[in-house]
Point group: C2
Chain length 190, copies 2
Amino acid sequence: MIDSKVELVLGSSSPRRQELLKLITKNFTIRTANTDETYNSTTPSEIVQEISYKKSKNIEISPRELLITADTIVTLDGKIFGKPHNYDEAFEMLQTLSNKTHCVYTGVTLRSMEKFSSFYEVSKVTFYKLDEEVIDFYIKNNNVYDKAGAYAIQDFAAVFVKKIEGDYYNIMGLPIAKLYWQLRHMLATS
Amino acid sequence: MIDSKVELVLGSSSPRRQELLKLITKNFTIRTANTDETYNSTTPSEIVQEISYKKSKNIEISPRELLITADTIVTLDGKIFGKPHNYDEAFEMLQTLSNKTHCVYTGVTLRSMEKFSSFYEVSKVTFYKLDEEVIDFYIKNNNVYDKAGAYAIQDFAAVFVKKIEGDYYNIMGLPIAKLYWQLRHMLATS
């Protein structure tokens, strides 16, 4: 269902993003580069778009290629949660998210040599009240250190989630539905 | 995190339910039986609990075992969507769900030799407007005939979904978060 007029390139080393893109097409290559993830934007929706665009500009493409890059952050009460650096930071993050509703923003940039566009998706996630035992168990049994907000919705942390509002795949790191319709639109009008 | 005082038995042949239960424990066995899925209840939440209970009563258990059974239905405007029998039915179902918000109910029954309890979870799913091309492509490339509502949120149909409200895993057929907390509660008080 994705036209083969262009060659899709995913600019992400995340196995999860690769898996999600496979839901809509098997035909893509992966090309990554290190990007400085600092930003000048002030709102979460702008920040994730700015970083996804920076990632995009760091990767070289050739004619006929269409590059997809993305960036995800977690926010609660105006505070941005990055990846925790140690056990204590992870514990504190999860305790802060416990029994509350936070937001997950993912920004996506699509870029060819002729043009680019960025968009974002936001999903709300409400956590159950987490006791110390379950938080400790989770941190000790999962790699939380490469995850914004110290959790991944598709592993044991599934039990933390009372409710989501929005796109589930966006919480995993790539809003695959919106990306699909944007791609179809872009390919139809190119 | 699930106590080993009891031996968990999953009464479902659904690979998806098996995969979801693995998110919280590796220690369970599978035991299934055919169940007549007719019902007397009138509301969706009662229907799924009644059928999950009927499935439970059809499976023999021994002391120390705790049996988990589940049933899922899709509803829109008071109508219940079962599994489509042919291409035309599947096409009509997806066309009906297009651009609308439907509900997915899953009922779960937990049963030991001493006691049982049933609960349900409901999630709302909003579809994008689907054109005939994408519906046709989906039906022809996925096994829709064993799926209530003619779609599975974890395959290509991910692109149909604009938004969900509630538990994602419930839409896949097992509300794993609520199940986890119910199990912990049941095991703590048994």
